[in-house]
Amino acid sequence: MRTKRTMRGQVAVAGIGETTYYKHGQSPDAQFKLTLKAILAAAEDAGIDPCEIDGIASYADDKNPADRVAAALGMKSLRFANMVWGGGGGGGSGAIGNAAMAIHAGVADCVVVYRGLAQGQGGRFGSGAGYPGALAGSYAHTIPYGVMSPAQMFAMRTTRLMHDHGISRSTLRAISMASYHHAQNNPRAVMHGRPLDVDGYDNSRWITEPFRLFDCCLENDGAAALILVPADRAKDLKQKPAYLLGAAQGAEYRAGAGGHNNPDYATSSFKTVAPDLFAMAELGPEDVDVVQSYENFTGGVVMSLIEHGFCTYENANEVIAFDNLIAPKGKLPLNTSGGNLAECYMHGLELNIEAVRQIRGTSPNQVEGAEVAFVNSGPMVVPATNSLFGSEATL
């Protein structure tokens, strides 16, 4: 018989590390060097010798291979090397979940999760110019019609969401403005010093209707890393542990059907994944103090928040309002570092790092007394993944 489907509280994030976050193409360092810097920063933060790391987890076809990282760091032994399927940013929380599973299963003792990217060195999500002249498979049924970029791949889900449920333009705008607002208190943020107001959003150019410029994530250079260890070890390290209360990944029935044929169309792919997360954590959305929700596009955030129970289709326009989304006083503080829209598009790994900071009490937009921090990674892709972190008090 299956034992309980859980690793609740068994593993903790002991260290976090980030390079400077750069505008697209501005990094003076090579992508792989950025990655190594982030890993070393996370080890330093944890108070761990980088040679002790014995596991590697990443996602989205990260172009900084585990073998080279292990050799560069001089890792004494590599026990776990793992990648989440999927080319989009859906796997950020999943990579953390996989790292924790390896530790919980006794396969590895100290696993680093990383993401590193710099212009042109590992491919980008945003351009359509890189496709070959002829395409086979399901892409042949979309790309020749000018559906090429991620914004174009996901825009029609948002159109349908707005059509079916009356989600308003001001709701999308509130999500964007919250990220920009939080970035103004975060000196690491690429959009620090670049506030966004209602007019700035409303007057921004269309990328593809229904998305304006500020509905879309950035393109950036940088690297980020987290180091996970067993919970009992984390207690003896330098930082206040952020315990992993739950992690889940997946998608609904035929979510990956080609040519926009997923039967439930206007979804972030979290309808089955969200209940799994909360069941493992033995918590519900009402217990969450602060939310980090991956903004590839604002419409995906609306779907994610609804599918995780932070609001409903009926009240989404009222709940997802600017004042509610702002730390420290809002009822649903959202993307408190500036997120993918305004801190850095580190493909969502920066959202997990911000969740850890909230549990430590060190966020630039700290939610007072935050004990439970939620993250969901790339909505609308397969697998979609999420994670929930808690303080010692939640164990």
Binding site: G126, S127, G128, A129, Y131, P132, G133, A134, L135, A136, G137, S138, Y139, A140, H141, T142, I143, P144, Y145, G146, V147, M148, S149, A151, Q152, A155, M156, R157, T159, R160, H163, R205, W206, I207, T208, E209, P210, R254, A257, G258, G259, H260, N261, P263, Y265, A266
Partner: protein, 145 residues
């Protein structure tokens, strides 16, 4: 370059493969087909080796029954490909076939690019033939008058 094309030539073209070859061949004859399971009658799109409902490998292509309706849409303004620099904005529609298990197809709307796009409107296919080597056909949609 043919001025009647919805988008200029030079975008990636479809390359028929072992699964969807019959669809592209039919489009070249101005016919719209999709994949149907011979064992249980389920429609599925895009094509796959296996029927997702009954797991039969016995699949065929057949004319899609019933009307097609606009299920969703978008209007790209930002040219993500150099060929599109002078072609934006344009309209992409997602069309569904309620009488064929709700399968959907993506194409461009043959219409002026501005204006409201009516979700639920009935559309008919427009076959756009390209004289390339080898030739290919794109399937667009026009709102039924």
């Amino acid at each position: 370059m043919n001025d009647s094309f919805v988008l200029p030539e030079g975008l990636p073209r479809p390359m028929p493969d072992e699964l969807d070859g019959p669809y592209w061949d039919a489009a070249a004859r101005d016919e719209l087909v999709a994949q149907r399971c011979n064992a249980c009658g389920t429609w599925q799109w895009t094509p796959e080796h296996l029927c997702h409902r009954c797991h039969s490998f016995d699949l065929e292509f057949a004319p899609v029954p019933g009307e097609a309706r606009i299920y969703s849409w978008q209007r790209p303004h930002h040219p993500v490909h150099p060929v599109l620099a002078e072609a934006c904005p344009y309209v992409v529609v997602l069309v569904e076939f309620p009488d064929a298990d709700g399968i959907r197809m993506v194409g461009n709307l043959v219409a002026p690019p501005e204006g409201e796009i009516p979700i639920g409107a009935t559309v008919d296919p427009v076959f756009e033939h390209h004289e390339a080597e080898p030739p290919y056909t794109l399937v667009h949609w026009r709102i039924r008058a």
